[in-house]
């Protein structure tokens, strides 16, 4: 029967008050934890998706839109750019490497991206089965696409026009799956990759007149170019050159994602602040409970003192009660945070948006228990001090 057990007996003796305080603490920790996990995971995903891309070039429009389209595949394209301009740009000595992306069609809401095999290299994509395309109308599926569509190597499907589900179907242009990728945790998982010619072919397929084909070939377009610089110096002049001297637009992923994050960040800050307010409320509620307990238990405390308990032991008992509540509430809060992330992850998966995982816990999350424990300690401070100083003789005499 030590102080921990004694404190626990008092918590058990008033289940409703205990429950209220645990729930408040859990809500505070849960809200803050939720923001922390989501913020961290989305940041990590976005950074991973943007890794190795120095510049995104596309049609003029909103730079954020260009980044969202070209890197994260979350927004509609700003338009297309002529293939000729793209080829011209690729010759620039400041550029080491260019990966073209052609967008426009989708399969069950997943984007069909016409590109080069280099695009896989950007995300270290490896094949779970099959291999890279060797001809047009051969497709490589990202892991999520393959899983959701239930397609494997040899499977056949048709794309539909537009990036959202439900567009007109290109019924006469059938893709064959030649490869399925391993999950990478990047944007690659939710893309259908084909070669650039496939995208052109789907839209030009019906034209047979050689004259017309020649004209069309001269007017071919791509949607965005993912650019790797040859030298860091390119960052200074290249974007300005593109934006000024061509009818294309250049956007820096690093700068635009940072800008995007500042915008999302306000929302995150609001939720975090809400969590802080709930935690402060929890501390106040805990303080009231302990202070109330102090009066309610004045005689119990006196009895413990007559049994030989020292003032420090009495204070420790109250502190232990607060800390136990904080610990239970904090752990429950972490579970709650992961539950909320699970709901968000499920919702984002429905939207074929960024994939986040709810059930990976990092040891750093245990730091979230610290604000709960600090709140509990602050709440317990005054009651503990008063309990330690209470006049036992007077309390006992009052009752007699």
């Amino acid at each position: 029967m030590n102080l921990v057990q004694l404190a626990w007996s008092y918590l058990r003796a008033r289940p409703l008050g205990t429950l209220l305080n645990v729930l408040l603490l859990a809500l505070g920790v849960g809200t803050i934890g939720f923001v922390l996990i989501v913020d961290g995971q989305i940041g990590e995903r976005l950074n991973r998706d943007a890794k190795g891309i120095d510049l995104v070039v596309g049609a003029k429009g909103s730079p954020i839109q260009l980044i969202l389209t070209g890197i994260f595949h979350l927004d509609a394209p700003t338009g297309n750019i002529p293939l000729k301009s793209a080829e011209e740009l690729a010759k620039n000595p400041l550029i080491r490497h260019v990966i073209p992306l052609s967008l426009g069609d989708s399969f069950r809401g997943f984007r069909i991206v016409g590109t080069t095999p280099d695009y896989l290299g950007l995300y270290d994509g490896t094949f779970a089965s099959g291999q890279i395309w060797t001809d047009r109308m051969q497709a490589v599926l990202g892991a999520s696409v393959a899983a959701k569509a239930g397609l494997g190597v040899g499977g056949r499907f048709v794309g539909s026009h537009g990036l959202a589900e439900g567009g007109a179907v290109h019924a006469d242009s059938v893709y064959t799956v030649v490869g399925v990728l391993n999950p990478t945790g990047t944007v690659l998982d939710r893309l259908v990759l084909v070669n650039t010619e496939s995208v052109w072919f789907v839209h030009e397929g019906k034209i047979t007149d050689p004259e017309e084909l020649k004209v069309i070939a001269g007017e071919r377009e791509v949607t965005v170019l993912l650019v790797q610089y040859a030298t860091p110096l390119a960052a200074v002049s290249l974007p300005r050159m593109i934006n000024k001297e061509t009818n294309m637009q250049a956007a820096s992923p690093a700068y635009e994602t940072a800008r995007l994050f500042r915008m999302i960040g306000v929302g995150a800050d609001v939720i975090r602040a809400f969590g802080g307010v709930v935690l402060a409320t929890a501390a106040l509620s805990l303080f009231i409970a302990l202070y109330h307990a102090l009066n309610e238990r004045a005689y119990d405390i006196a009895v413990l003192r007559t049994l030989g308990a020292r003032p420090l032991s009495i204070a420790t008992m109250l502190l232990l009660e607060a800390l136990m509540l904080a610990l239970i509430g904090g752990i429950l809060g972490l579970v709650l945070a992961h539950g909320l992330v699970a709901i968000l992850a499920w919702w984002m998966a429905q939207q074929d948006s960024l994939s986040i995982t709810a059930w990976t816990a990092s040891p750093t999350e245990l730091w979230l228990l610290v604000p709960a424990l600090i709140a509990a300690m602050l709440a317990a401070l005054l009651p503990c001090w008063r309990a330690a100083r209470s006049n036992i003789s007077a309390t006992l005499a009052r009752r007699n």
């Binding site: 102080l3 004694l6 003796a13 007559t306 030989g308 020292r310 003032p311 003789s393 006992l396 007699n400």
Partner: protein
């Protein structure tokens, strides 16, 4: 066991609640502290228990001058050497009968000895109620558990503050019988503070305190 030397206690200068120039109680002896309410019976007990420290003079319990101890050491001394039975037998309401005894061992810094605690409950005839919470016990059972708790650390001195107030004659007789039987069995001295005249016939030696602080007479 208890020795008072020129003891005075007051909350303010010149207004002594209690003044006792000399008082002695031998080991295993019994004494009744009587007097009208407000005469300082409780103050006397609290001085003996070290819950109060005299304004002047010395209170020596089992050879130890209580005022010479630090407050924390005084708490520990009380826990290990003095058993106290409070009015209404106040048991800790969230703990079972057995746990009430175990917590007494624990807060006194003594090893928790379940077998011994069960033995104490057995000696007082309430061991079969060991796992009951106080509100599940009858008043008589609560009394017995409270006495068992006061004796569980093998004190040399048992203090009882108004143990029989609010009790009918039968219960009153039971409690005093219990105290008078159990205390010598455990080799402890017994001090009962009361205004209950029914006890006067049971404990012949009396310390009479009067409202006039100087009038104490053993």
């Amino acid at each position: 066991m208890i020795r008072f030397e020129q003891v005075r206690f007051g909350y303010r200068d010149g207004e002594d609640v209690l003044s006792l120039s000399a008082f002695d109680l031998d080991a295993r002896d019994n004494i009744l502290v009587v007097g009208p309410s407000g005469c300082g019976k409780t103050t006397f007990l609290h001085l003996v228990a070290g819950l109060l420290v005299p304004t002047a003079g010395r209170v020596i319990v089992d050879g130890q001058d209580l005022a010479a101890l630090s407050p924390a050491a005084r708490d520990r001394f009380r826990g290990r050497h003095i058993g106290i039975v409070l009015q209404q037998f106040h048991l800790l309401p969230t703990l079972t009968a057995l746990q009430n005894l175990l917590v007494a061992q624990s807060v006194a810094g003594l090893p928790v000895d379940r077998a011994w605690a069960h033995g104490m409950l057995e000696a007082l005839g309430v061991n079969e109620r060991a796992s009951a919470l106080p509100h599940e016990l009858s008043v008589g059972q609560q009394q017995r558990v409270a006495i068992a708790r006061a004796l569980v650390n093998r004190p040399k001195l048992l203090l009882a503050d108004e143990p029989t107030s609010n009790l009918d004659d039968e219960s009153c007789a039971q409690v005093i019988d219990l105290l008078l039987n159990v205390t010598p069995q455990h080799g402890a001295a017994l001090v009962v503070a009361t205004h209950d005249s029914r006890l006067k016939s049971r404990i012949p030696r009396q310390l009479v305190l009067s409202r006039h602080a100087s009038g104490a007479r053993a």
